[in-house]
Symmetry: C2
Subunit: 117 residues, 2 copies
DNA sequence: TCATGTACTGAAAAGTTTTTCCATATAGCA
DNA sequence: TGCTATATGGAAAAACTTTTCAGTACATGA
């Protein structure tokens, strides 16, 4: 990894703790894609989030796994296969992800007018 | 400002839009401090969030004002005086801030054990 | 006069995240 | 053989955020 975080998450404030777990650019999107609870392969997630460089999703999935929000299973096959799945802890964040998604939908027009072009 | 953002907020995805408005290190804390709706002076906010450098709070408050989540009133007095107040739009984010605060409180112990020391 | 408080700002350094590029390894297919 | 697909990872560049430092300006009180 290019850079090792000094403090993995923010333990000083409950609000900052939650934020620090999901604030990276693609983490909330990854949790949203994994919301159904289905096992998903990395290549699937890459296709669903084509804007993100594959390397970035790998790195952020790794952190989600370290933090216990997502699980990873590796099958010792060739060609290699692995699957990601949201954990119970990760699922408990989904109401927050949902609320942010709905807020964004409800207020997108304001920010479209304000910032587009 | 040292660096001018290319895109102020993320308009491509509702979830990313909401995240992009609050994901900066101190923005969610500032909204939490302003939650009551009371007018607050910059020096007050600096005292409530002593971990943050005053300059950072100024910059992040400026963005919150630009995005319409917080209002700012400047009194043309000497010594200068100004107050910040959460707007209706900003208040509509408070349920999300609350949910994150509660999630953090409920799960802090897990991450304490995992990451402290 | 000098230190303190108030609000603000430019510039640069430091810190962190995100992206790009290249490389590994193996199987299947044309 | 050469192309594609699978999953992964090192290294470095680029992009962005956060912090520090120094400075403006004015008023008050010791």
């Amino acid at each position: 990894m290019a850079y090792e975080k000094k403090i993995p998450v923010d333990l000083d404030c409950p609000l900052r703790l939650t934020m620090s777990l999901i604030e990276s650019k693609w983490k909330s999107c990854l949790l949203d894609e994994l919301r159904s609870g289905a096992e998903m392969r990395p290549s699937e997630l890459h296709k669903l989030l084509p804007e993100a460089a594959p390397r970035v999703l790998d790195l952020q999935l790794k952190e989600l796994v370290e933090d216990g929000l997502v699980s990873k299973t590796i099958f010792p096959e060739l060609p290699p296969r692995s699957v990601y799945q949201i954990t119970q802890l990760g699922s408990s964040l989904l109401p927050i992800i949902d609320a942010m998604l709905r807020w964004g939908e409800a207020h997108m027009d304001i920010f479209e007018k304000k910032y587009r072009r």
